[in-house]
Symmetry: D2
Subunit: 377 residues, 4 copies
């Protein structure tokens, strides 16, 4: 067995659901250990989270990300990679700081506030020869990987149209925000969009991931329908891809009765494929004779051999979002181990190109909505 990787985390001190999922995902396959962190702006919270998460060396619990990036960059036994799972406005300065100190980065989405920032991070990562993952977690579900393989193999024939939606009702369902994330309502921290940035980017990325196609242009309408924020809480968009494929997107935080309801359909000349994350294990193939066949991603191939779909359990045991984070971290860490060993490595995780596209998508949506017109992405 190879030496384990070491990593640190930015964020998580305030009991963040997401930062803990990152931590579990990174640790899931036993390839790494959590060695450092700056979990909060409040150093006491960093200390207590560090204790809970088993970092015994308090020298490696830092007051600021900058301090952490510099110190870890200098240490002989410094972290191999950092996970940035703090509010959106931290992504750019944190990532830049760690890249400059020679540390590989895994960052949550949306990558940055502006596409200029995102492209600067790409330049930095390339200059420093560093890996950069962006955690579009839904594209790591086994069924999604299986659908991608089917589309790439041509099973659907020429792609005609896509339908994607990611719908929540939680913002309308409660007077108080249930997720401890008031920062999301604040434009200076969230960025130029909320719903579009937070979940719209997932919708954009999962279609690009499965089809391999890139957006050419779109016509979006963003609406601020919650009294909690001036930012968009509902968005609709018509889509046009470079290959001519059309599409429609709906993302919402105000559709009562829905929770994390991400669903998609991709229709080609020879078959269609559909998936709904609420039944994440299964996907449906639609055939020209009108029949619909439901497959379990976990049915085949053998779970004992790691394959493209990263199935971990037998059919009938749907995997949770935790295992999906683990899939991204598995691929990222395997690539990093290979790189350190001088072996070639495939990039099977969503990377900085996905991150840049996501920010460009947000910018195009905001612009289209303001102009009430189709715009190029």
């Amino acid at each position: 067995m190879e030496q384990k990787l070491k990593f640190g985390i930015i964020g998580g001190g305030a009991g963040s659901f997401i930062a803990d999922l990152h931590r579990r995902g990174a640790l899931f396959d036993g390839l790494s250990t959590l060695s450092a962190g700056c979990f909060s702006r409040d150093y006491q919270k960093t200390l207590s989270a560090g204790k809970e998460w088993g970092i015994t060396d308090t020298d490696r619990l830092y007051g600021t990300y900058e301090e952490m990036a510099q110190a870890e960059g200098r240490r002989e036994d410094g972290i191999d990679f950092v996970i940035i799972a703090a509010p959106n406005d931290t992504h750019y300065p944190c990532a830049r700081s760690f890249l400059k100190n020679g540390i590989h980065v895994v960052c949550d989405k949306p990558l940055t506030h502006t596409s200029e920032q995102a492209k600067e991070l790409k330049r930095l990562a390339e200059e420093q020869d560093l890996l950069f993952a962006v955690t579009y977690v839904y594209s790591a579900y086994p069924a999604v990987r299986r659908m991608r393989a089917l589309v790439q193999e041509g099973v659907l024939g020429k792609l005609l149209t896509v339908d994607v939606r990611y719908v929540h009702g939680y913002l309308m369902s409660q007077k108080k925000n249930p997720h401890n994330d008031a920062w999301r309502f604040d434009k200076s921290r969230s960025g130029i969009a909320y719903c579009t940035a937070d979940i719209g980017t997932h919708a954009e990325q999962i279609i690009s991931y499965i089809t391999g196609e890139r957006l050419d242009s779109l016509c979006a309408r963003l609406e601020a329908l919650s009294t909690l924020t001036e930012l968009d809480t509902n968005m609709h968009a018509l889509l046009r891809y470079e290959n001519g494929m059309s599409g429609m997107m709906w993302c919402s935080l105000i559709a009562l009765g829905h929770a994390c309801d991400l669903s998609l359909g991709i229709y080609g000349e020879e078959a269609g494929v559909e998936w709904n994350r609420q039944d994440a294990e299964h996907f449906t193939l639609c055939y020209p004779d009108g029949s619909r066949s439901v497959y379990s991603a976990q049915n085949k191939p053998d779970r004992d051999s790691r394959d493209i779909s990263h199935c971990r359990y037998p059919a009938g045991h749907p995997e949770s979002v935790c295992e999906s984070f683990a899939n991204i971290y598995y691929d990222f860490q395997q690539a990093l181990l290979a790189k350190k060993a001088g072996r070639p490595y495939p990039c099977r995780y969503p990377d900085i190109h996905d991150g840049i596209r996501g920010v460009q998508f947000i910018e195009a949506c905001v612009k289209s909505s303001a102009l009430q017109a189709w715009v190029r992405v």
Copy 2:
């Protein structure tokens, strides 16, 4: 019991599925008899259909609609109303002819090729004091009527956004058209749109029916994705209603795996409501606590008393499209009986205003798609 009404039919001679449904719907509640018809351009077909459908007096089987309109208009025992269930291009001349001869009209949708024609029919009907129904059949499902009542009672609170889709795959699934309706592929007969006119109008009407709201503007994209026709076979649209409510629509004839898949969601500040015609008996209310409650339209009220929802069977016996046609015809015929008896009558059926709105919707979609821009409806 009052004297039965008499009606005639235009169309159906070629084994049309739809014309036969109209006939069954009109006869379902025993309020009328089929007394005349011009079922085909081929008089032999009219004769044989007339025989099958029990018209013993061959004088009342006509070679042309014009002949029928004039003869029936002159007869002492002439038909009370005509059903126009022939291809789209016949709707306007037929309806005009029967109106001019003093005969009430039930016409299939889309009402006419142009909104000018539709408005002319409205003027004619008003001048002649004649009833005019347009058979938007989906709005007559008991569950849809129940949802309308809930929305009108304010159960949903302020309406925020709607989602409606009507998706077929049949045009892509077969090389030959399965529905004996090659005329639909011909612009001169179908009109300026195919998918948008044939099923998009249903989607527009059902939302207007339930919410009582009217479209203000839209941004549509129509695509001709079938080799069978130059007309649109797939359409997407962003919607904006006069009350500020937003919406999204997808209608398609090329989405494999779908058949008559009409579904809708209407989301307000206090509740949401959803319906899918494939499980037409039930509708779902979405509440702020995140729960979703499924109700049967047939559960209450008592089926023995005719009420707004027109339930005919006990819960668990979903009604077919046949009973929905019957619901429209029941309301139309009750209104006609009342009118003839000098009693006041409510207009509970979709009428010429729905018909005009449908044609305006088609025109707006075609214009928006050509301009690639938002347009007023």
Copy 3:
């Protein structure tokens, strides 16, 4: 076109939902006319129902079934067949009377109170060379006919086990009986069982119909769980078929949240097939690779040619219980027309053998439950 058949009805005067469905079913395909009836024990109700249903000759509206059987049997233009859609206790005497007067019979289920009575009816029908249908309506859904064809073709391989359930909650959901059928609570009218007889027989018949297999033995438990009646309102049974196939059955009137919820699964060595009447159009085939394929019975074959599945509408338009009744009546009437014309005719409708088996099934369940033991059917 052949001369239309003439039929009469016993029952329906009190606004019976079922009798009206029989009437609609018999008339659906235009093969017959309603010519006579004894719709109620109250002659005034018979008169008013007769008027509503268009029987102009009041000589043919009768005060008793006996009177009707004799008069119609004597008339030159007497009815060809009678529909018995009155409470269970009328089935045997009515059917006997019409058979003795040379009139073909369609009777609702359960056929009689005792299997001796049922067998006597069979003897009478054979002696008189008369057709006898029993309206097990669920076996006439297109999807059920399609499943039967698949099983008979061997697609499932050797049959291993079946699961069938027919579950209602209506008896528990209301203090008063919603269906105007208080007679069902009365043992002298309903027979030795209620739930088992009313819906258990449907469950027994549909499995026998699809698989072609007959029950060998069963172990049942009947429970009287409603204060409205001493009869069973819930039943469970373990099943053993003559071919060794095992099975399980649950029928209930007290399972809240369910309405007409008839579902079944049949599992063989090579495939399984499943159906739920709430989505009656579709059925599912289960394959050894774990996939599940959903087919529409209405997808193929062409609806223009009548075939085994009797599809009437295009895919996506599920048929209601009304069309299923029509399917039974279509087959029965075609057989009767053929018989009258001296042509050979297949028996494609559920007949007196299904009726006898149903009564034997009820008797076996009651006996098994009393003995708390397995019994032979």
Copy 4:
């Protein structure tokens, strides 16, 4: 933070899916560390699994469970509890050995081959004052805990009948056994039953857990339908509970198209509740008005405060079997920490009483099937 607990594992060396889930579950909440193990009969496999799982002290990797029980029992820093996740025949001797050496036990189900053995383990645990959990994992899903709370609060009223099924097709779907568990086909290792023991016990336990009711008697039929084993691969049972509640159970390994399909319905006089593990997050309440309301177990209460339902993620993120194992281990470890600290502790995990009942259930099923009769449990 209290000192972490230390535990060891029996089993898992051969790549067992289940043993790894136990390990993850025990570690999930950071309350313990894996300190010892005997992962295989092959010591080399134990060594390599130990290395993979981070046990650096090879003294604590043992050749036999007996050796491990004695050595760990003697060590000052010996394990607090052992997890037994090896084939069924090891449960009894292993558990006895660890109990005798003063070590708390978590054991997979079915607990033992005979109820005498199970009762002996109970006596031993009581004599030694040791905790004993049996990992009936399905009862630890948040939705199941929520349903239990509802039933205990009386929301369903008097309980009338239950329906439970746990259905797989995997044994029929492949010629070779896909799960590396050929030992299951061997009566000497599996015990007197296979399907009934492996999954039937889950079905028995989950109903007992939710309702608090105990089986009084049952009538079962076990069938050996696979060529791979002489043991039962399909079972049906009629159930009678001590409170008079009736029920029906179906468990199968040969029903094609199903995978881990555990579903249940519990029907009372005032409401019903239903759950299907394939959509584990949600449960349905069925009301007397016929409506069905779907709730997310994760919706409330606040995930920040651990409560009875142990929700870990926000609504819309269904938890996997991994989090359910973690729930059992959380409760077990909290009880153990409390016990060690001299604090009172509730038993919120399935314990040896569940284990004994499971074995008694198996024995009753086998006996009933052999006698073809109802038997007392």
